[in-house]
Amino acid sequence: MATAETTRAPAKMGLVQPALLLVGAAFLLADLYLIFAYVPTERVMGIVQRLFYFHVPTVWVGFLAFFIVFVSSIAYLVKRTDVWDRRAYVAGEVGMLFLTVAMVTGAIWAKPVWGTWWVWDAKLTTTFVLWLIYIGYLMVRAYAPDRQRGARWAAIVGIVGFVDVPIVYYAAELWRSLHPELVTGPFAETGSLESSMRATLYFSTLTFMLLFVYLFRERTAQRANEQALDELRARLG
């Protein structure tokens, strides 16, 4: 299956990765300053609303990661090159991390504002289901008898899972119209954002994107080295 890549030297990251790390760290510090010192405290929700600048960017990056899983999985099934499998796998792994952070910050934010940790509205249900599907995505590989099959099956789960997302959303929305909950309170919609808040949100999103790119590249290189090592071991018997 693996062709010319068998004798590849360990992946070289060059200067891009350290540079990304430095820039990312600087952005993260600036982001923390914006979130905790610059942006005004939201009048109604109070200090806890600052979680918003962690929650929303991690949701966005999490969903973006799963879009990368979807695209890379299709590319892998069509082209069958290891590099697309690595991209899909790493995006799934890092996306899972971001989505977990998003769900945890969301729950912590929801408790004081909505009075409950969790509501089953369309957004939350869809996020939760996506999270479950990608646990399955990572598990399929772990249980597969060999890497090629694990990669193929995971690609199928990645594609099926992504196509499922809008259908889950629609079903959950339709379901909610039959089962209205009363807890959503006055903050169900965020409404329009004040300009400094919007600027902080965008900056924070950029910061988390940088973090994602850094982790993605780091893990992809690690994964390539892992596979090169496995192949060497296999050849030595």
């Binding site: 099934l77 289901v129 599907i133 099926v160 889950v168």
Partner: protein, 224 residues
């Protein structure tokens, strides 16, 4: 096209014949569904008033759990007897194998669903029988079988087959589960075609999407 359908039919008939002679799976699955509803009786003890509220949930949990057990076996026999390789060597398109297996899983589930209807009447005083319910059951079962056949072909080749199938199957089929339960609830409350129309359309969309996607993806599942 006609050789394609003939191959799918041949695989379907083989499975139906094997099942008709041994009755291994259908009885096991049926008894399992029976036990699930019986357990519900004692975990919730639904009063007659509540039964209409949670009855559709009881029925569909029983159907879906039984479906997982049944579909888990779709490829197990082939693997245990070593006939999976023979099936793969057959000069037929892989989509035909998928379609044949899917039809088998669908038939098994529909038989179990129909056989359970009188059980719900006796044990829970629940009668679902109506034409819109039949449409709900058929559309839901097509969707469940489409996803279940794909994933059980994956799961059977792994080390953790019984574990992996529900983990993959249940989250993906959530829209069908929501639609089937909601539609059944609406019918139980006296609704008709018009009330459940949107749910039926949702399931139809799911069925088409996953039939197309799964028959395309199936090729990659069975490759060596």
């Amino acid at each position: 096209m006609s050789t394609y359908l003939r191959a799918a039919m041949a695989i379907y008939w083989k499975d139906v014949t094997v099942e008709a002679r041994t009755k291994e799976t259908v009885f096991g699955v049926l008894v399992f569904a029976l036990i699930v509803t019986f357990i519900f009786k004692f975990t919730f003890d639904p009063a007659p008033r509540v039964v209409a509220l949670i009855g559709p949930g009881i029925a569909w949990v029983a159907y879906i759990f039984a479906g997982i057990v049944g579909m888990g076996r779709t490829f197990v026999l082939e693997r245990d007897r070593g006939t999976l390789e023979a099936l793969l060597l057959a000069p037929v398109p892989r989509e035909a194998i998928y379609l044949g297996k899917l039809a088998g899983a669908f038939t098994l589930m529909i038989v179990v669903e129909a056989a359970m209807l009188p059980v719900f009447v006796v044990l829970h005083d629940l009668s679902f029988l109506s034409l819109p319910f039949a449409a709900t059951a058929v559309l839901a079962t097509v969707g469940l079988a489409a996803v279940g056949t794909l994933f059980s072909a994956i799961a059977v080749q792994t080390r953790a087959r019984e574990l992996l199938l529900p983990l993959l199957f249940l989250p993906v089929t959530l829209p069908v589960i929501i639609a089937a339960v909601s539609s059944t609830s609406l019918l139980l409350e006296g609704g008709g075609w018009r009330e459940v129309g949107e749910w039926l359309r949702l399931m139809l969309a799911f069925d088409i999407a996953f039939l197309v996607l799964s028959s395309w993806a199936f090729e990659s599942v069975l490759e060596e």
